[in-house]
Amino acid sequence: MEAMSTLVEMYKNELYNFCFRLTWSKPDAEDLFQQTWVKAVKNAGRYRNEAFRGWLYKICINQYRDNKKETRRRKKHITDDFASTSAKDFVMESAAGAESAEEQFEKKHIKAMIIANIDKLPARMKVPMVLFFYQRLKYSEIAQVMSVPEGTVKSRISAAKKRLKAVLESELYV
């Protein structure tokens, strides 16, 4: 158990951030975080020689999908968690450059819109987007945690971007 406790300490921030960026809800992120660790303990016997970080991500993604299904199954009426969480609060300012305060504000607003729309993507697109753009994992790492070929990761990200672009264009320029 000491080993697991050490691992929790080691990965707590990264995993918690991932959970939060998938759910955009503090209670849901906390549940997902805890479920992921409990599942890791439960399935410790299945852990083979692979990077622990990737294995942890894998468990978290599967748990996230299960939770999503469960929510759907129960037909629980949930408020739009993302909407109730102000995305703007989580978008950091870009490094100060030549942009005016107004430009910076607009950029932050658009980023918040992008985050909101990534959140609405189906899981098979949303997860690689979160892993790539928020968690900064490489394509090869995403391929490993999602158990799909690297090419599939690229095409899903590409498709997601295309979809986002269309949505953003309609929202911004109409």
């Binding site: 158990m1 805890q34 660790w37 980023k111 992008i114 994992l137």
Partner: protein, 715 residues
């Protein structure tokens, strides 16, 4: 043009830190889970030792299945004559009837929860593994399966080989689908277990579980967790003793036993093995025989696994002696199997076996036949094969299993199944004929009897080879046999039937028969709904849903004709009057929707994009994107599928042309047909409209370009 990359590449999201309270709560939960896992491991080891649990899967989740409650509200279900019965006990409790091909012939709900569940499932005709999968899926969808839930699956069949071949696949299948969610326990029994449980009005699976654990009581109200808890409490600590074997060695007897895995058993500390011997089997098995030798060591050190005994140790030479190893682990003391052999006087060679015979368990073949002999003789007399065997004299006697095999010259239970199970010690003969299930006329069989004992051991007797004769006589005229008069009615959705009792020594069972169309139904022409072997049991109640499960759907205004066919020894059947009952409006079922696909080639001709309408149905399970270049009406499962999507909101997909060509064949100029098959969790599949796409004939499809270049961010 909106440059999304500009924003995405610069996406910088605030880093959050989890609360300390969350971290400490998580660590605590991990610790609890770890402890639970350890306990489950020990419990699994104990159950395995008791023979209750299948060998652990590599993944090492606790796999256990509860086998089936057969409890109606105050009513006992009868046998339906299926080849095997699988009971699934989650609460809901369901019994699955299967034929000799392991295909489902009927589902019986055992309680109200199950009735609701079964209303969503249609498994008749499916392989039993798929059916059980469907039941668990439905239970999960209805919220009955929580994490860590115990699910008990019981397999009961007259022919042990039928379920033996299924259990492994069943376990693998359920582990793959529900391994992370449930604790699966699989128990196996025979039809007698099943019948006994029905008579006791308790779950057959729980009864089997309790019997395997020896001495645990079980009641109709018990759930799986209750029985497991009793197994744990009443048998704690459930340590196992080694498996013992003995053989005469000159004037000595050589004893050897298995190496114990104390880690798996969960024991650490001093170990004391005591070798006991005597000529009274019960005393030896009951741990009251004199101890002739004691061996001590520590569980963490090297183990001693053999020793020799001679007259100097107190062995009585020239006698047939029973041996056992009493193992003491701390305060706990357990007994090994009982093994036996003839102890020759010093200098005398062991006498050769008089009757070579197969033995089961660690029971050795004795030299001179002991007083409790196991011999079978047989002859053909008229239309029957008549078998006789020696009466067992052991106090530990549990029963005789009459076995037969066409090919195995040494048939034994459980390897070869059994024809009859006799628990009356004094019944030492049986008549078998072509009517006996498992036997055919004009065929030779090896017949034998396996003697079963309460300590779990079994001894197979010798075998005799005899030809089953073809019956010459005809059935006695049916007018000699009384029939039963049925009456009944319907109350709400419950059909109540009762009939007159048969007081005839030749009575063997009631078949409750039903038909929507035949005004004079009878068994076997119309099959049957229930099979009841207790002459005093003269009523049955069941819901309209059960009727639909058994006979199929009916239309508004339909009636059902019921009758009782009485079965008599020797095969005679007598069907009485018909009771016709008007059925209520058929249970409603929401229609299942399909969805039409849109398919189009992108401008570059490199990808085909699909989209379809969303399905908003609670029963939704998957969209299967189906494609074919030869079938203009492709559908799942006939044409396989290109992609399965479990998110009902996810209503689009695309595939690269090269990928499509590599999967479906064809090439430039080929026409492909696509459709969406919606799969529902009830097993229903609905395929919508078809859309075709023809690849450009020339030039060759260009290779799919690398997706939009996205700079690899530095992690």
């Amino acid at each position: 043009m909106f440059d999304i990359d500009r924003y995405l590449d610069d996406m910088n999201i605030k880093e959050m830190s989890p609360d300390d309270e969350l971290i400490s709560r998580t660590k605590k939960r991990c610790e609890e889970e770890s402890k639970k896992k350890e306990e489950a491991k020990k419990r699994a080891a104990r159950l395995r030792k008791a023979g209750l649990l299948a060998a652990p899967a590599a993944a090492a989740v606790v796999i256990g299945i509860l086998i089936g409650a057969f409890i109606f509200a105050g009513k006992t279900a009868g046998l339906s004559g299926a080849a095997a019965y699988y009971t699934v006990d989650i609460n809901p409790s369901v019994c699955v009837h299967v034929d000799a091909e392991n295909k489902v012939t009927g589902l019986v709900s055992q309680n109200e929860d199950a009735k609701k569940l079964m209303a969503q499932i249609s498994c008749v005709g499916k392989p039993v593994i798929d059916a059980i999968n469907d039941i668990l899926s439905a239970a999960r969808n209805e919220g009955y399966l929580e994490k860590g839930k115990y699910v008990l699956i019981g397999c009961f069949a007259a022919d042990g080989t039928l379920v033996a071949s299924t259990i492994e696949d069943l376990q693998a299948n359920l582990e793959a689908h529900f391994g992370d969610m449930i604790n699966l326990i699989i128990v196996r029994g025979d039809l007698d277990d099943f019948i006994t449980a029905n008579k006791m009005n308790v779950s057959a699976g729980l009864l089997r579980l309790s019997r395997m654990a020896q001495s645990v009581s079980v009641s109709a109200d018990d759930k799986v967790e209750d029985v497991l808890s009793k197994v744990q409490c009443e048998n704690e600590p459930a340590y196992a003793a080694p498996s013992l074997s003995v053989s005469p060695d000159g004037g000595e007897v050589r004893l050897s036993w298995s190496v114990m895995d104390f880690d798996e058993m969960g024991y650490a500390g001093p170990v004391k093995y005591m070798i006991a011997a005597g000529n009274n089997r019960e005393a030896v098995a009951g741990m009251s025989a004199p101890v002739l030798k004691t061996i001590s060591f520590n569980s963490s050190g090297s183990q001693i696994t053999s020793c020799s005994l001679s007259a100097a140790d107190g062995l009585a030479a020239g006698t047939y002696t029973y041996f056992a190893l009493y193992a003491q682990y701390g305060e706990a003391k357990v007994c090994s199997n009982v093994a036996a052999c003839y102890v020759p006087p010093e200098g005398e060679d062991p006498e050769p076996l008089k009757t070579p015979r197969p033995s089961y368990s660690a029971e050795p073949s004795p030299a001179p036949l002991p007083e409790n002999a196991h011999t079978v003789s047989g002859k053909v007399s008229g239309d029957y094969v008549k078998l006789s065997w020696s009466k067992d004299t052991s106090e530990n006697f549990a029963g005789y299993k009459v076995v037969a095999s066409e090919t195995n010259p040494h048939p034994k239970y459980p390897d070869d199944g059994y024809l009859k199970y006799i628990t009356n010690r004094s019944t030492t003969s049986v008549s078998l004929s072509e009517d006996t299930e498992g036997l055919s006329a004009n065929k030779y069989y090896y017949f034998s009897v396996t003697y079963l004992y309460n300590d779990g051991s079994a001894v197979a007797a010798n075998a005799v080879r005899l030809k089953v004769p073809k019956k010459s006589g005809s059935e006695p005229p049916s007018s000699d046999y009384p029939s039963s008069t049925i009456s009944g009615g319907i109350s709400g959705n419950t059909i109540n039937l009762s009939w007159t009792k048969i007081n005839d020594d030749r009575f063997s069972g009631y078949k409750v028969v039903g038909s929507y169309t035949d005004p004079t139904p009878s068994y076997p022409s119309n099959g049957y709904l229930y099979y009841i072997t207790d002459a005093d049991d003269t009523s049955v109640s069941f819901s309209v849903n059960t009727l639909v499960n058994k006979l199929g759907p009916y239309e508004s205004g339909a009636v059902c004709h019921f009758a009782i066919t009485v079965l008599y020894d020797g095969g005679a059947k007598k069907t009485g009057n018909t009771k016709t009952i008007s059925l209520p409006e058929p249970p409603d079922e929401e229609p299942y929707a399909s969805t039409n696909i849109n398919a189009s080639l992108n401008d570059a001709g490199t990808r085909i994009n699909f989209s379809w309408g969303k399905i908003t149905d609670e029963r939704f399970c998957y969209y299967k994107v189906v494609g074919s270049r030869t079938d203009s009406s492709p559908k799942y499962p006939d044409n396989g599928y290109l992609e399965a999507i479990s998110d009902p909101d996810d209503t689009s997909w695309s595939i690269g042309v090269n990928d499509l060509v590599s999967r479906l064949g064809g090439g430039p100029g080929t026409k492909y047909y696509f459709a969406i098959t919606v799969v529902y969790n009830t097993g229903v599949k609905k395929t919508g409209g078809v859309k075709s796409v023809t690849l450009p004939a020339d030039p060759e499809p260009t290779p799919e370009p690398t997706p939009e270049p996205t700079p690899e961010p530095t992690p």
